[in-house]
């Protein structure tokens, strides 16, 4: 495993910047979990980390290993694709579970179930 100290400066700087940007988005998302007001608002916060946050980190990874190994390392693109495809599933399951529970408890701020009627 080749270490990061072999990385030339011109590549190390953008890699570091991308990592910090990605980590900052993850941190902001976590702060959002604390600061936002109710469950449905909080569901939005971690999506910062799962979209642009992970995007920046994967870009940093691609750049880092492509420079170190002197060939394009692109399998991070697959991670991006799988994250994009699978995150909606968990978010939908969480949101629908909350909605079902709120409806059953008669929470006034949630919309009623769909009418199921044709317009």
């Amino acid at each position: 495993m080749s270490g990061a100290e072999d990385l030339p400066l011109w590549a190390a700087l953008p890699v570091a910047a991308l990592l910090i940007a990605g980590a900052a988005l993850g941190l902001i998302g976590s702060i959002g979990l604390v600061r936002l007001r109710d469950f449905y608002e909080r569901v939005h916060a971690p999506t910062l980390a799962t979209t642009l946050g992970i995007g920046f980190i994967l870009l940093a990874s691609m750049l880092h290993f492509s420079v170190l190994q002197s060939r394009p390392v692109l399998h991070e693109l697959l991670i991006t694709a799988f994250v994009v495809i699978t995150t909606p599933v968990t978010l939908m399951v969480l949101a629908r579970a909350a909605l079902t529970r709120d409806r059953r408890e008669g929470e006034p701020n949630v919309p009623p179930a769909g009418t199921g009627r044709q317009p």
């Binding site: 642009l52 909605l99 044709q118």
Partner: protein
């Protein structure tokens, strides 16, 4: 073509995924990838996955560009909302129900991915009987505005591609 190789688009995607995973496009990797792609497509056929249509690749790549721009824009917007110092009493979040004309499963799935990939909107529910989708929006200023965004920016383009 479809008899010989069902799901050509899915098979091509599987081959591409394999080559990315291996990190080479040598003859050995391509051969093995083709084998896996054909096997995967055959498996989809056995499972009876409804065939999708992917038309207008140019429109799809244009859509990808718009999605990328929106991901940046909405990440910025949501980060600002979270870090805003004033306790945002005036900011309102809420649900919007949007009536969709799109019925293609793959189009709907793509719409769900896009809405989740742009922070600030979460797809909550879909009612297949009346074709309405329930959306939760973090910064809800005008419901009509959001219906318009969903229909004009995303649904129209996705219908071009998938229907």
């Amino acid at each position: 073509m479809t008899r010989l190789l069902p799901y050509p688009v899915a098979a091509a995607a599987m081959l591409l995924a394999w080559l990315l995973l291996i990190g080479s496009a040598g003859p050995g990797a391509v051969l093995l990838g083709l084998l896996f792609a054909a096997g995967g497509a055959w498996l989809l056929a056995v499972l009876g996955v409804p065939p999708g249509r992917l038309r207008r690749v140019a429109a799809a790549s244009r859509l990808l560009g718009i999605v990328l721009v929106e991901v940046f824009r909405s990440n910025n917007a949501v980060a600002r909302i979270i870090l805003a110092r004033r306790d945002a009493r005036e900011r309102r979040s809420g649900f919007v129900r949007v009536r969709l004309e799109m019925r293609s499963q793959y189009g709907l799935a793509a719409l769900a991915c896009i809405l989740t990939a742009t922070p600030g909107t979460v797809w909550v529910d879909y009612d297949a009987r009346d074709g309405t989708m329930l959306l939760h929006v973090l910064d809800l200023i005008d419901e009509e505005e959001w219906v318009r965004i969903i229909k004009d920016r995303w649904e129209r383009r996705l219908m071009e591609i998938f229907e």
